[in-house]
Symmetry: C2
Subunit: 122 residues, 2 copies
Amino acid sequence: MVKSKLPYVCGIDAAIDVVGGKWKVLILWALDHGTTRRFADLRRELPGVSEKVLIQQLRELAADEVVHREVFHEVPPHVEYSLTEFGDSLNEALRPLGAWGRRHIKTIEANRRPAEFDIATG
Amino acid sequence: MVKSKLPYVCGIDAAIDVVGGKWKVLILWALDHGTTRRFADLRRELPGVSEKVLIQQLRELAADEVVHREVFHEVPPHVEYSLTEFGDSLNEALRPLGAWGRRHIKTIEANRRPAEFDIATG
DNA sequence: GACCCCACTTACTTCTTGGTAAGTACCCCA
DNA sequence: TGGGGTACTTACCAAGAAGTAAGTGGGGTC
């Protein structure tokens, strides 16, 4: 995702900057409805993400105050990730866009791979 | 902007793929409310965009059936860009996200430049 | 004839993002 | 003592998105 230059010229610009990483909306989705997840849980829920990138995006979301990171100093210690209220409001704002994408996902995919076939290649 | 791998795992993934270029939401905004614009108009309305990137993003939006490109074979010939109905529905779906970004733009900007000052540097 | 506008196209470079793979440090269990 | 789990960090590399700059080919204007 391409970062917009600051200052943002409009709200969408800013919002997409927050949400534009390859795995960020998926992380937001995984933490929806007040869900709490550990680092290793998220790894398992996002097949294909590397540890490096997952941490990177979690840190960025935390820096944006969208995700809350809490360390539990128990034995053994662990870390829990959840949405902040701010993150929750972001997820709400994303819902119409998600619905649009879901509604048109076939069209979008088709336009994105004009060289491929939808039928099985023999 | 980072492209998601196909097939998309959720609608947001797909939508952000359509809208994720650096200038795309700005183009969508410029063409909002049935507005029609020429290439040169858009260049002027998006200060900082290069011709190469503007055309590239217009072509991608057209390939996604979000933007309509019409050539007028008059003398002199020219080209007009406008939103399709599909693009219009996308803009509608983007509005809540835009409102969220606008509401929190100060917070987002502040979190995005922790090393800079908001007061003028002397 | 020189210059501007329109709508691009092309070649080259840089910068950012993400991916790969390995290492760290600590704990528990058998 | 070897293996597994937790939560990272680090270094290196590749792909792609965007930026720069120049060229194209038409027309119209002074």
